[in-house]
């Protein structure tokens, strides 16, 4: 069973015991009993913009498993539909992460393991616990590069629209999948992520996929992120992989 197999593989590597697990995160608003007050207002940076920094977790694995988990229509072109069907029939055996390659933009947005946002002047960094990988979103006003050699995480630039950080990404390597189900994309993929920190403990991440070769019109999924106080990212390296050889498919 593919789903069960993936979950077993994934969950076995998550936090059994953790270092610094109880070290209190500085600056977290707390209720009188000392518990984090996750419905306090979102913090702001020196520039008055919301500060997205912190460790975040998606409370479900369903979006990683399939970005369309909430029933959103994913209007695939015949090319994409054929490739998606092949991947499904093949038990998603060729999924890059099955070979210890990292996830990419949308599947890391959807990933259920912790990720850490670091908002620094001119750049936002996302550190991912899984695959020990990171991604940069430049907020220093630079444009997307004209020439784009395919890159695993593409090239991302962000700007503030009101209290929402809007990140544009292009140039994503075609090797990557949009999710573990195998929704495909072409070299023309354009991703727009809208990060809105609703309050201290909740971030709404709206992800719009625009890829005319793969989808007949843009489609959007909303992924909820929850703040994870008083913890840290743990060591997670895809090593000693004995699974790939046992993956079955057509």
């Amino acid at each position: 069973m593919r789903a069960a197999g993936i979950w077993f593989f994934a969950l076995c590597t998550t936090r059994i015991s953790a270092q610094w697990l109880s070290y209190p995160t500085p600056g977290v608003p707390r209720t009188p009993d000392g518990k984090p007050n996750l419905s306090a207002p979102a913090p702001k940076g020196r520039d008055g913009k919301p500060d997205l920094s912190g460790i975040w977790i998606v409370p479900t694995g369903k979006y990683l498993e399939n970005l369309g988990a909430d029933g959103v229509e994913i209007p695939m072109t015949p090319w994409a539909a054929k490739l998606f069907a092949e991947r499904q029939e093949n038990n998603a055996r060729d999924r890059p992460s099955g070979r210890c390659l990292p996830h990419s933009v949308t599947d890391f947005d959807a990933h259920f393991q912790p990720k850490k946002f670091i908002q620094a002047p001119g750049v936002l960094v996302l550190l991912f616990e899984s695959y020990h990988s990171y991604r940069q979103i430049f907020t220093d006003g630079r444009p997307l590069p004209q020439r784009r050699d395919p890159a695993w995480f593409g090239y991302s630039v962000g700007k503030w629209v009101g209290d929402t950080l809007v990140a544009d990404t292009a140039g994503v390597n075609e090797e990557t999948w949009l999710d573990d189900a195998g929704h495909p994309h072409s070299a023309d993929l354009h991703i727009v992520e809208r990060f809105r920190r609703r309050d201290f403990g909740h971030m709404e991440v709206r992800v719009t996929i625009d890829d005319p070769k793969a989808y007949t019109k843009p489609w959007t999924v909303t992924i909820p992120w929850e703040y994870l106080p008083d913890t840290e990212l743990l060591d997670w390296v895809c090593e000693n992989n004995k699974d790939t050889q046992h993956m079955v498919g057509k």
Binding site: P26, S53, P102, I118, A120, V123, H132, P145, P150, G171
Partner: protein, 271 residues
């Protein structure tokens, strides 16, 4: 081919060929660079500082090359002696425990067959300092992050006053905390897993190791990193070396995912 009989050189070549020969955003100017009257960057200008008055180590850095390998490997970037042997400057060599000396002999004979780098595994903080592709330091209040071009990996150094964990799960990067002593950021790291390599020679680092790094940005364009390794399991006494790093302007980290289309590991053999 002679090249393929020497995996040390092969690994070197494979690694260095992946360095940024051409890049995206390579022309995008780094912000805040002091300039001379003629408009060129003034790398000897004073080290920049953060709002709290501490030196700001942020920037894209590489180790200053001291060895030109381009005659043997056209297209490759120059490298450093420490990349091959972390104890290169130590006249007496590294103070090995007997078993560690034997291990290094074995690893040399095996030509990096079990080098984590040969298998796209992490290489740890010390070896990352000598690796030829750049890393990016981002200094924020309470946290310094090092982003590595190599394998899109990162390292966190906590500067928020937290202590080192007492009995951590062993990890590739260990656990790092830093504090300022004057203008030097002193970073202590422990909690390594066993089996790390400090260089291509295979000089070991064990789980008993404590690493102290002293980061000193001496001016805008240069940073010294003094490294002291205390690893009584592998070495009879602590040893200290110093690495010189230089700032890379108007560029950024490029895409480098080691396992992508990886075809080398299955061909690794001992001659």
């Amino acid at each position: 081919m002679r090249l393929f009989q020497n995996l040390t050189l092969l690994g070197l070549a494979v690694g260095l060929l992946l360095s940024p020969a051409m890049g995206q955003w390579i022309d995008y100017p780094t912000a805040g660079v002091p300039r001379k009257a003629d408009g060129t960057p003034d790398l000897n200008a004073a080290c920049p500082r953060t709002a709290d008055g501490k030196p700001n180590l942020s920037g894209v850095w590489i180790m200053e090359p001291d060895r030109d390998i381009t005659p043997n490997f056209p297209g490759c970037e120059p490298t450093t002696e420490e990349f091959t042997n972390i104890g290169f400057v130590l006249k007496a060599g590294l103070p090995y425990q007997p078993w560690a000396a034997e291990l290094v002999k074995t690893r040399r004979a095996e030509q990096r067959l079990h080098d984590p780098l040969s298998h796209c595994l992490p290489i740890g903080p010390v070896r990352l300092h000598t690796w030829s592709t750049p890393r990016k330091v981002i200094q924020t209040p309470g946290l310094l992050v090092m982003l590595n071009e190599l394998n899109a990996s990162y390292r966190q150094i906590f500067t928020d006053g937290r202590p080192l964990p007492v009995d951590p799960n062993p990890s590739w990067n260990g656990y790092s905390t830093g504090k300022w002593e004057g203008d030097t950021l002193v970073v202590e790291t422990s909690g390594f897993r066993d089996g790390l390599w400090l260089d291509s020679t295979g000089n070991p680092l064990t789980g008993a190791a404590k690493l102290t790094e002293r980061f000193h940005r001496i001016n805008f364009g240069r940073m010294e990193i003094e490294i002291t390794v205390e690893d009584p399991k592998a070495y009879t006494k602590p040893w200290t070396i110093k690495l010189n790093h230089i700032l890379k302007l108007d560029t950024d980290l490029l895409d480098f995912v080691c396992l992508e289309n990886e075809k080398d590991a299955s061909h690794l053999t001992v001659k």
